[in-house]
Symmetry: none
Subunit: 154 residues, 10 copies
């Protein structure tokens, strides 16, 4: 169990929020088990952007499920990447697909799905789902919903 995390510069260091998503690196490290097909979920309930036309803030929860290829995303790097949207103007659809594309590009995963659950604006919430690649055998994302199982005990 020795993960090679050479090249990681953000974890454990004082982290500045990147100036924009385009300037935010998505640091990855070597998948220590490239021969095993498995599924990773990252959930980000603290995501916020601003509207590109009005400058008003938007809020969302992002749920990412992926089956890694040779790389894994480092979670602090992912957090800083998400923080870089804080003062960045973007529409919900574009933003969700962009997060998907950046992860796809950085990770070259076997499969990835990004779900953006955006808070209501004008009384209308918007949810966006982007999914590419195909699930290998023996890989399935957890259900979207509560799943804290504690062993047959309520």
């Amino acid at each position: 169990m020795t993960t090679n995390y050479s090249g990681l510069t953000q974890l454990g260091a004082k982290a500045e929020i990147p100036s924009s998503p385009e300037n935010a690196p998505l640091e990855t490290f070597s998948n220590p088990h490239p021969n095993v097909d498995y599924t990773v979920r990252l959930t980000a309930p603290e995501f916020t952007t601003v509207c590109p036309l009005t400058g008003q803030p938007d809020f969302a929860t992002l749920v990412v499920d992926y089956v890694p290829g040779d790389r894994l995303v480092e979670s602090k790097s992912f957090k800083l990447f998400l923080n870089s949207f804080r003062n960045h103007g973007t529409f919900h659809e574009d933003c969700t697909v962009y997060v998907h594309n950046r992860l796809r590009e950085a990770l070259a995963p076997k499969y990835i799905r990004v779900v953006g659950l955006w808070f209501a604006r004008g009384g209308i919430p918007i949810d966006v789902v982007v999914e590419t690649g195909s699930l290998p055998p023996n890989c399935s994302p957890l259900p979207l919903g509560k799943s804290t199982y504690r062993g047959g005990r309520e």
Copy 2:
């Protein structure tokens, strides 16, 4: 991540409620990711119309799921379009299908489903579901129900 939203006139401007649904434009903008198949849900829990014969107000929640083609609907425009029904006489079935048809016409989506959940009148709620097109691979609407997942933690 640069969405081309030239031509959008309503977002960020002071918005008048259109005089009727027929007069309400549904502004769209260019889908920045036309080569990606993904799903967008808009939910409108604040929708209201009037009965064409009695003038009494009706209330509904609309849930729209679509897989975009070349265009996306701008959400403030969609809100104003919905607001235009406020003093407009319409039956539940017609209205729900009309919303579906206007979106289909404006967006030419690969797939679209519109669900109208109408509050009870005379003690009888009415729900209408309209669905056209076919789902591309790797595209599926979220379930109709609660889904605020927060990462395996209750």
Copy 3:
């Protein structure tokens, strides 16, 4: 969006409860979207009849799902039709199937299901489900259960 509701006589008028279900008209109007396959649900939680032998009142919730052909049922007419059972003696099974048959006859729907959930009598509740026709592609009734979705937010 112009529904032809010529011929509707009950909506907006002062409504008398019909003397019996047989005498109660089920007014319909022209489906403004006959080329679209969609689903309509009517739910009636305030339905009451009397037992044909004992004269005791019975209570039920009715749930109707149908895919319209050329006609839609007008909901006030449907309500008055249901009200006509108030002092009408009928058994649960017969009544539920009768409601189904009257709707089928009046609407010639592509598909229809009527569910009657009857309150307990003698400690024994009775539920009746009648379903005819077949579901067109892209048409499915909502689940029997809670479904007030409000956009990915709990």
Copy 4:
């Protein structure tokens, strides 16, 4: 809607509890809609028997789902039939299958399922499920669980 219930002797009359299940008639009446395939559920949460060896009372909830052929069971008759078990010695499995068989014999239904949920004895509850015939197209029992749907409104 005229059900032929000639021959019904128990409904509306003062009812004596039959001396034993074998002596308890299961009165039926003519299915007014023999050409329609539909499902009827009867639920009996107030069912009680006695143990054939110890004479101690047992309690159960029975859930019956059937698709009628030419006959329907009259519910007061069914209640009295169930009441006849009150002082009758029987094991849980036998009793549940017997109720199933008597209904099958009296009704010749296209399909029937009887579920007996028996209260704990010696700390061990027993549940018995008997199911025969096959479901016609467009017929499905309601789920075993809560289902009081009220039209998209909680």
Copy 5:
């Protein structure tokens, strides 16, 4: 409805807890309906054993579902069989499979599944599922979860 329960010695008699599971008879009686395929569930939330190495008590809930062949298990006998584990050393996996095997041997059922939900030891609960035979048509175990249905009424 006359079950042949000749040979039952434990029901209605003063019952001693057997000295060990091996010495505990599993009394059965003739299935009065051998030609009907049906499902029986026994649930035992009061099950306890001791650890074979440390002598410390363990606790579990057992859920048994089976489709009987020619024999049914008598429930008091089953309770006493379970009670015989009270001071008997056994591991969770072995015990759950043993209960399954003893029932299989005594009953020769068409299908049987035994689920053991064991309380945490060292903070780690263990659940064991053993399932053999195949389900006949029209036979399905109840779901593992709450199912007290009371007729569409909460």
Copy 6:
């Protein structure tokens, strides 16, 4: 019911926490029922590690489901193995796959799935699912969720 647990050294003895996962033995014992296909679930809600770069503690719930071959894992040994991660630096993905691999190596199970539900860091929880082998007939893991069934009684 005689499990051969010769070779077990940890159960019932005073247990030291192993110095590292690599040094932690996973003691197994002979599956007393190698000819029966069955499923075992171990749930560990008290799992903790440290970050390899920052030294800060991490917390997770692990859920393991496996179909044993010739060996079973001894649960105290499994607990001590998990305890050995207490001061061990590891990333979430590596750790979850490592637990899977160690169990696979020690048990040679017919099927195994390990789920790691990790608490949020930087507001982002991570869940990892690793699954290998194929399920034999008549073997299925319990659902990830609550399942304390108590016999049809709420």
Copy 7:
């Protein structure tokens, strides 16, 4: 801890259901801790009587809370006392008060409350509460919580 239970004749013996409540003894035994004020709750969810006028069965859950004086009620005796109502005609109010009075007479408790939660007849459930004596300091009945309360088990 040596309870004097001399005089108990029903516990452990084969018990016949008494012919009527009046003929049903309520056996008690000596309170081993007469100097301690404490509260005892007995819950009977399997209680049934018949209507004195129609002969039809009634069902209820009884909840008894008492602070013992010199005597405790033996629970099998209490069960048989309740079983004696099985074929006994009584109204809900009368029955609940009678159970209270018999317990008061047999136990001379410092405080007693009997709650009868009766199933609906004609769609109307009836609940009866009888309470006499006064609570000593440091004694309080558990909350009634769910009225289908089953004794500390969810």
Copy 8:
């Protein structure tokens, strides 16, 4: 923070189950904070005894709340004390008061309440509540809430 636990003989040692409750020591250790009034809850959902007349097992959950004086009960000692009831004949009321009295005697607490929630026998669960002493200011037991409470786990 240095607790004086001299005199503790059971914790960390191989523990034999005591032969009877009377022979089971309740080891205590010095309250390191005798000048602070605080509340301690111990919950024991795995408690079992046998009936003194029939020899049949009984099960209960015990909930103990106390405000310590100069002594605290050592929890392994308390567990072994409870385990000593495993083959010990006792009635529910006596047993619950006895546990209370032993704790009171061993601890001389400022306040103590013992709640015994006993599983149904003959369909009738029994709950016993014993409470002595008075609560100091700023001390209140946690609510009983879910009675199958498992220590901060849902």
Copy 9:
């Protein structure tokens, strides 16, 4: 709104886990609103210690409510203080009171309550509640509600 946080050394710096609770500083900063009585809750669901006699790990959730005087506790400092218990031997009661005492000493709050909800050991969870000072008018802690409460997130 200018908080004086001079003297804070841990927040924003790379933090080492202190070698023991006694060596762990609890950094505080000046309460910017000393004239307002208000309540602060800190919830720590990731708390772990080791048993002083056996060396085995223990887990708890801590819930702290206090009304500040002149000082507030800095939350990273509080986290590191809690982390310092990770390899520290302590009993549940002592530990919970010690956390209370350290906070009282560092903060001199007007009121403070510390609740420790400890995971089961030997099947017995322990909960400790320590409360000192008195609540000023207009100050009341939030309800404990779900004890796995995670700070306003479900």
Copy 10:
């Protein structure tokens, strides 16, 4: 019903996010019912700040309950006031009290309570409750119930 809202400058105008909380006006308007004591709740689930030392974002839900005196807060003004914290460094306690103080100053309410439910940092969520004034008779804030409460919509 004529509300005097002279002086409102933000509602209906294009709104810029104020440069800091200190520079953000809290616009109010005349309470049209100053002689009625009533309660107003504003819930803000989309609140975010940054840490004054690390620059990292924080998230909270704010719940404000007040009984108005002569003034009411205009809700768009309140939203812009909250938005002004977006890039503003502040600690949780200071920020929550500051929001309370600004509202108290602007409104001079008879009573006000501000609750800040802050997302976990370092695994530790913080909740702050500030309450001043006294509740008039017949005024009580709604229960906090679900703290992610969304305004009467489930």
